[in-house]
Symmetry: C2
Subunit: 193 residues, 2 copies
DNA sequence: CCTCGAATCTGTTTCTCGTTAGATTCTAAC
DNA sequence: GTTAGAATCTAACGAGAAACAGATTCGAGG
């Protein structure tokens, strides 16, 4: 249930900072940002409550850091897998796999990012990253529509929301990524690989 | 942004109870169950904080009542629209329309029900209603698969989660129900009506 | 008009949580 | 070994919220 940890930290403090972030992501995923108490987070990170303030200026900042960590890690995975080569259908498949992998590997962070309460009141850096993530997806969808891989009627943005919504539901439910991907492709009647 | 109100209440107290429920649903949808304060709920319902306790034994009970109201209203709509007549494709279409209508009409209640934090720790009555709702959908999906309307590969339960996830994402984003339904049918390449 | 119960209000109590400040310990460089 | 800074702990404060207990008002029936 913990998230992933990229970027090797250097000092001892960096490791603690990561432990706090992981604990906060788990706590927020379970109880929401308001319901997650610093006491519980500190306990999970094996720390005293006050010590959190050496690493984060406030609870608000901690929550924001968790959000940014989640979306930026997702974006990183999308960049790695859905590179602009190959047919639209291939790139769409790669994008689906990347998103599902991100959900599986980042579990708690992903859950936090996807919580509906964060649709509004996003911190500044988070909004930009999220917009960028959605923009990539819109491109993938539009290309697939132009290609005939996906039905051309609906707006690309609409299709993107539907698709990501479907992937999120399966991902948060803990479904196996590969299995879910196959199901999606079958339903959309994409040509087999 | 308020929810719907079915079932005409009799006395004055019933109306107040409904006002509290609506206010609670809105507040919970915005700030999560932990972040929603009785003070804010009471203010929105034009009441003093303490007066809520005449209608609900505790904050926990109030939250549970909002949950049950949301899921039972959704189930009611599904019952009305997706009756067991017609072809599997027709019933599937009806189900999609019912779900989207429920999301649009119940907005705050639906948002509360769909919040990921409620996946666990559900109140007793809520679990049963939710199970029933999913069971209906599994039937619709299985019939559509047997019919060839939907791809037969993936498990019905998997398909159900994907489909409902997609509908929820569009519904909570405030998309027009009819428009969303058309997009879904086009993507799944369902035969036109 | 009076009465009684339902409904609401006011004030109080208790508890949790975020935040802060100062003391304390750990770690590495000199 | 000493020292300086990083990292953590301890203890408290203050705000806000849930919960509770009477006191008060409202509204229909006799």
């Amino acid at each position: 249930m913990t998230g992933a940890s990229t970027e090797v930290g250097r000092g001892k403090g960096d490791l603690t900072r990561r432990r706090i972030l992981d604990a906060a992501a788990a706590e927020i995923a379970r109880h929401g940002p308001a319901g997650a108490s610093l006491g519980a987070i500190a306990a999970a990170a094996e720390l005293q409550t006050g010590s959190i303030y050496f690493h984060f200026a406030s609870k608000q900042r901690l929550v924001e850091a968790v959000l940014e960590e989640g979306i930026s890690a997702s974006l990183r995975r999308l960049d790695e897998m859905a590179v602009p080569t190959g047919t639209p259908a291939q790139r769409l498949r790669a994008g689906v796999h990347a998103h599902l992998r991100a959900l599986a590997e980042l579990s708690d962070y992903a859950a936090v990012v996807l919580a509906p309460q964060f649709a509004a009141r996003q911190p500044p850096g988070f909004r930009a990253l999220r917009r960028e993530y959605l923009r990539r997806w819109t491109e993938l969808i539009a290309d697939a529509q132009a290609d005939g891989t996906l039905a051309a009627g609906p707006e690309p943005g609409e299709v993107r929301d539907l698709l990501i919504g479907a992937l999120n539901a399966a991902g948060l439910a803990g479904q196996d990524p590969a299995r879910t991907a196959d199901a999606v492709f079958a339903l959309l009647r994409l040509p087999p690989c």
